[in-house]
């Protein structure tokens, strides 16, 4: 018997704290697979967020610094400016990047900071119990939109890849998903591409990852995966939104 898939060694032994069927587990795994395969464990520095992804240092066998909520792109900027040859990436959720961290994310992209933002979009604030996120869809029920998101009261879902694609400083922006095996394979490729580009000095990259949040969507894991295909991608189409040749 030959092993054709095993846990990446860069994942610590700790069991994930994520809910059953949560996409964070897949994204965490993909990141460590890519870093391991690209032999970057000695160079990688991750900036962890506030949110469900805040315990990354319990799982990643790489240097990690925790940022205050929303400040990941600014902290990553500081790190990268001191250590330009390291692989520096922030891991941010909906609130972290699209709400409180919108200015820092936008301006890091605008300055063309040579960092990678891994943006996990699950349309809701998971850690705090399922409140509306900037990415919550219209009519989507959350704990702070109990009758469904109404644009007149709560605005529209924010499409980060599209918005950032207007910034001249952004170099590579792709939206992927982790709700099907083929999508997971593409997501991994996008992450690897972003990291490769960073090492080549290509400038700001962001990989937006549509991710299931079964508990806060009040769905089973498979239903949540299907919902991404049937509903979510209509608002957040997958694909490359910017790719500056490098």
């Amino acid at each position: 018997m030959k092993t054709v898939y095993a846990r990446p060694k860069l994942l610590k032994e700790a069991h994930f704290h994520y809910c059953p069927g949560c996409g964070h587990g897949v994204v965490n795994r993909l990141l460590m697979e890519v870093i391991e395969e690209m032999d970057l464990a000695g160079d990688a520095i991750c900036v962890a967020p506030a949110g469900c992804g805040m315990l990354l240092y319990n799982y990643f066998e790489i240097d990690v610094v925790e940022a205050a909520h929303g400040r990941g792109a600014a902290v990553a900027t500081g790190v990268k400016r001191v250590r330009p040859r390291n692989l520096v990436f922030s891991y941010q959720g909906d609130g972290d990047l699209a709400a409180i961290g919108a200015a820092e994310g936008l301006h890091a992209a605008n300055r063309g900071e040579n960092i990678t933002v891994i943006f996990v979009n699950n349309g809701v604030y998971g850690m705090t119990g399922g409140q509306m996120a900037p990415t919550t869809l219209l009519d989507q029920v959350t704990t702070t939109t109990p009758t469904g998101r109404d644009a007149a009261l709560a605005g529209h879902p924010v499409r980060i890849c599209e918005v950032f694609s207007m910034l001249d400083g952004a170099s590579y922006l792709e939206r992927v998903a982790v709700n099907r095996p083929a999508a997971v394979v593409k997501a991994k490729k996008a992450i690897a591409k972003a990291f490769r580009r960073q090492l080549d000095g290509a400038g700001f990259s962001l990989v937006e990852i549509l991710s299931p949040c079964p508990v806060n969507w009040k769905m089973g894991p498979l239903e949540a995966c299907r919902w991404i295909d049937e509903v979510m991608v209509k608002q957040f189409p997958l694909g490359v939104f910017k790719e500056v040749p490098c």
Binding site: I45, D63, R71, A74, V75, G78, R81, V82, R83, H107
Partner: protein, 347 residues
């Protein structure tokens, strides 16, 4: 040079390699000086999108091992408080400059000492203090700035330099020859990529309450050491004084002018000028209280440092206060009149 520019130059000479700042009056000359000077000095300058972004860039640069600085004024300092709390909790060095202006709210751009509480009582959330240095002249910046970077690295904690708009914008001769660049400290804790060593994590989230408590006591032990070893102050004509003025920064310069006039009339007034506002020179004041009964606190605020004087004296002596908030800069003559009146009334 202006105080703002001298401060920036002193920072670079002290080994500051990364500056992140956002424009706000009355410290813009500092930011602009850094923009001009940092690249040539081999450092990094970023005008950040906000004061919040700046303090977080400082955190990132610091965690990666660099001597890093930001500067602002009152409203911007309020924005930075979360970042300062994180720096303390993460045990990261940083230097943060506040050139105070009138407040609260938008306030004005005149010199004030309105942020004493904010600077000395932690300022952000959680149980902590930061070292607060209060320079009183442009030349003193050449001592205070390297000291700030040294203490920040030595104790792995942020240090605040508390100036004001007048100090920042006044032009005085300054001599950098005496500035000694602080020696480098071991920064093996810094995040550099886990090559050849175990991965390191820097974070302040500690769910377990007993472990969080332990971390807090660790920080507190550090603060006790700082209180024991890092108090700095100056006295002026205090030896035979019957009334001691307590003032800092630009306030102390005004007080000096007033005291000179008072002494011409043989009023025995002296001054203690704290240079570290935290740790406050508690013992020095207690010592003075053995022979001096009247302490006259002068500040360009409604009265903030006066509370530390009360704490220091523990009920001994009499405390007089002359405070003017709002960016009003009293003249030495004005202060001389007030102190003189209190002095005579006290007799």
């Amino acid at each position: 040079m202006s105080g703002n520019a001298a401060l920036a130059e002193a920072a670079i000479l002290s080994g500051c390699t990364h500056y992140f700042g956002y424009p706000i009056t009355p410290q813009n000359e500092l930011t602009e000086y850094m923009a001009m000077r940092m690249p040539g000095a081999g450092g990094v300058f970023i005008q950040s999108e906000s004061e919040i972004a700046a303090i977080n860039m400082v955190l990132g640069a610091s965690v990666a091992g660099a001597r890093s600085m930001t500067s602002s004024s009152g409203p911007g300092m309020s924005l930075k408080q979360e970042g300062v709390s994180y720096l303390v909790a993460d045990e990261l060095p940083a230097v943060i400059v506040n050139m105070m202006r009138g407040g609260p709210g938008m306030g004005n751009i005149s010199a004030a000492q309105s942020d004493y509480f904010q600077a000395t009582r932690g300022g952000g959330h959680g149980d902590y203090r930061t070292v607060v240095l209060a320079p009183g002249s442009v030349q003193e910046l050449t001592e205070v700035v390297p000291l700030a970077f040294d203490l920040a690295d030595k104790y792995r904690s942020p240090v605040i330099i508390l100036g004001d708009g007048m100090l920042g914008q006044m032009m005085e001769p300054v001599d950098f020859d005496g500035l000694v660049r602080p020696a480098d400290y071991d920064k093996s804790w810094a995040l550099t990529g886990a090559r050849g060593r175990p991965a390191q994590a820097i974070h302040s989230l500690i769910f377990d309450t007993r472990l969080q408590e332990e971390h807090n006591w660790k920080l507190q032990r550090k603060f006790r050491l700082i209180e024991r070893d890092e108090v700095r102050y100056e006295t002026y004509l205090a030896d035979d004084a019957e009334m001691i003025v307590v003032a800092y920064g630009s306030g102390a310069r005004i007080a000096r002018g007033a005291i000179k006039r008072l002494r011409e009339e043989n009023l025995k007034v002296g001054m203690i000028r704290p240079v570290t506002l935290w740790p406050f020179p508690m013992k020095a004041l207690q010592e003075m209280a053995k022979t001096v009964r009247d302490f006259f606190v002068f500040e360009m605020s409604a009265g903030q440092m006066v509370e530390d004087v009360r704490l220091a004296l523990e009920g001994q002596g009499r405390i007089h206060l002359y405070g003017r908030p709002g960016g009003v800069v009293p003249t030495p003559v004005e202060l001389y009149r007030i102190v003189s009146r209190h002095y005579h009334q006290a007799r």
